[in-house]
Subunit: 282 residues, 2 copies
C-alpha cells in the first residue's frame, strides 16, 4: 500500500476573516507541503486542475515542475487533468517535461472533470463530455506509445504522422483513469487495463466496493490481469491528536468549501455530524 | 541596461559522438544554469518553445515553474511563446502560475514563431499565421487587464464574460512582442505600446537599427512615449578567454545546429569565418 496527498490548491474564503486566501501565499505553502511530503516519505503528491477563483491550480504541470525541482523521490501527479477540455499533445508535452525534470516521477491522472467551468472556457459542449474524454484519452495513449502519431477524433485537430517531443524518462508515462463514481468510466479503465483512482468525496467508502469489483471484472474480461492493476482512492482528510480536535479545527473551513460547492450543485447544507462521520472513516 | 540569457534547451546531436544530447540531462543542466544566472546577478532568463526532437522545451512554463522554485530574483521569460498556435487562456493561466510561484518575476514574450512545426501539430494553417497572432494577442491583453473577459476571434472559441484565475502578482503581467525582423510586427508592437524584443540570429546588429526606429516611430504615432518602452535584442553568443578559443570551441556544435536548420530552410552552409564575424560583433 502507498499513501499520498492531493490538493486543488484551495484559496477558499476564511470564514473567520471573510478574506480569500492569497494565491501566491497558497502556492508558496503548497511547495513547502510537497517538499515536506517528499522528506517524510509519502509516495505521491497530486495537484488538481480547476478554473475557478477559489482554487489556484488551473495549471498543475507548472506547479509539478516547481515541485520536481525541490523534491527527490515523491511521485508527482495531476489530480486530475481534465482531459476532455485540454489538448492531449500539450498534456503529453507538459507531463513529459515534468517527467524529465523529476527523473521519471510524473503521472497523469486523467478524468472527465467534476467541475464544468473548463467546458465553456475552452469552447466545448457538455453534451460531448464523455466522447471528448474517450477520444482524447485514445490520443494520449497513442502519444505515450509512439514518437510519431496519426489520430482523428472529437475536439481536436487530426494529426497525420507527426512527432511529439521530448520523450519522457518513463516508458510508458503512467496514465491513471480518475473516476468520481460513474460505472461506465470504471469499466472503460478496466477494459483499457489502466490503473484506477476513485474519488470518494462523500459517503461511506464501503459503498464504492462494487465499483472496484466492476473495474476488476472489466479488466479480466478484456484480458488484463487485475492483480497487476493498482487501485487508489482519494478522500478528504484531516489529522489531529484526537477526533474532537480534528472536528473543531477542520469543520469550519471544510463546511465553507462544501457549502459553497453544494449551493452550486443543489446539495443540502453540510452538518457537523456528517463531518464527524467522514473523520471517523479515514 | 540589463543582460540575460535565452535558450531553446537544445538537444542537438554532438558532432564528436553522433549522439543526441539526453533531454533529462539537458533540463537538469538548464536548471543549474538558471540557478547560477540568478546567483551571479543576470536580469532575465528566457526559455523558448519548440516542438522538435532537437529541442527539449515545448512547455516553457513548466521549466519556468521549476526555475521559480530554485531562484530568487531573476526574471523568468518565455523566449518565445508561439501565441498563434496556443490558447491565450492557458497561456495566461500558466504564466500567472509562474508569476505566483516566483513572486512576480514572470514575463510572456509572445511571437508568431520562427519554426512552423506547431501549426500542423495543433491544427492551424500557416496562411492564418499573422491573423492568429493578432487575434490571440488581443485576447491575452484582455485577460491581463480584466478578471472577466468577452472575446471573439480567429483560432479559438469565443468567450462570453467568463473569469480566468488565478490572477498574477504583477498587474499587469508583462507581455513583450518578440519579432524576428518583420516590419509589420515591429509596427504592431509600437502601436500597442508593448515592449519589443528583436531576435538577431544572423547578420550585423547595425542592420536592425531601422527596425528599432520604426518601432519607436509607431509607438509615438499611437500616443505612447518611446522613452518608456524597453527594447531587447537576442543573439547567439559564446564567451571564452580569447576569440580563437571561442571559435574553436563554439564553431563545431554551432555549425551543426545552423546547418541542420539551414538545410530545412534552404540556407547555404555556415562557414568558420561567418562564425568568427558573429563572435567579434557580440
Amino acid at each position: 500500500m502507498e499513501i499520498g496527498i492531493t490538493t486543488f490548491a484551495e484559496t477558499t474564503t476564511d470564514p473567520a476573516t471573510g478574506l480569500r486566501f492569497d494565491p501566491a501565499k497558497r502556492l508558496s505553502n503548497l511547495l513547502q507541503e510537497m517538499r515536506l511530503a517528499d522528506e517524510v516519505g509519502l509516495d505521491v503528491f497530486g495537484v488538481g486542475e480547476h478554473h475557478r477563483p477559489d482554487f489556484a491550480a488551473p495549471s498543475p504541470t507548472v506547479i509539478l515542475g516547481a515541485a520536481a525541482a525541490v523534491t527527490s523521490r515523491i511521485r508527482l501527479s495531476s489530480a486530475v487533468t481534465v482531459l476532455g477540455t485540454d489538448d492531449p499533445v500539450r498534456v503529453f508535452e507538459d507531463f513529459s517535461t515534468v517527467d524529465l525534470l523529476s527523473n521519471g516521477r510524473a503521472e497523469v491522472w486523467a478524468g472527465r472533470g467534476s467541475f464544468t467551468e473548463s467546458f465553456p472556457l475552452f469552447g466545448y459542449g457538455l453534451n460531448d463530455y464523455d466522447q471528448l474524454f474517450a477520444d482524447k484519452l485514445d490520443l494520449l495513449l497513442k502519444l505515450r506509445e509512439n514518437e510519431r502519431v496519426t489520430w482523428e477524433g472529437l475536439g481536436r485537430a487530426p494529426i497525420d504522422d507527426l512527432g511529439v517531443y521530448p520523450r519522457p524518462v518513463q516508458q510508458p508515462l503512467p496514465v491513471w483513469i480518475a473516476v468520481g463514481g460513474n460505472p461506465n468510466s470504471v469499466m472503460r479503465a478496466g477494459r483499457l487495463g489502466l490503473p484506477l483512482v476513485l474519488a470518494i468525496i462523500g459517503g461511506e467508502p464501503r459503498r464504492f466496493v462494487p465499483l472496484i469489483d466492476l473495474y476488476r471484472e472489466s479488466a479480466r474480461e478484456a484480458g488484463h490481469d487485475p492483480a497487476k492493476l493498482p487501485v487508489a482512492i482519494n478522500s478528504h482528510g484531516f489529522i489531529a491528536d484526537d477526533a474532537d480536535d480534528a472536528v473543531a479545527t477542520f469543520y469550519p473551513p471544510y463546511a465553507e468549501v462544501m457549502s459553497t460547492i453544494g449551493r452550486e450543485r443543489g446539495w443540502s447544507a453540510m452538518t457537523r455530524s456528517q463531518s464527524l462521520v467522514v473523520g471517523l472513516h479515514r
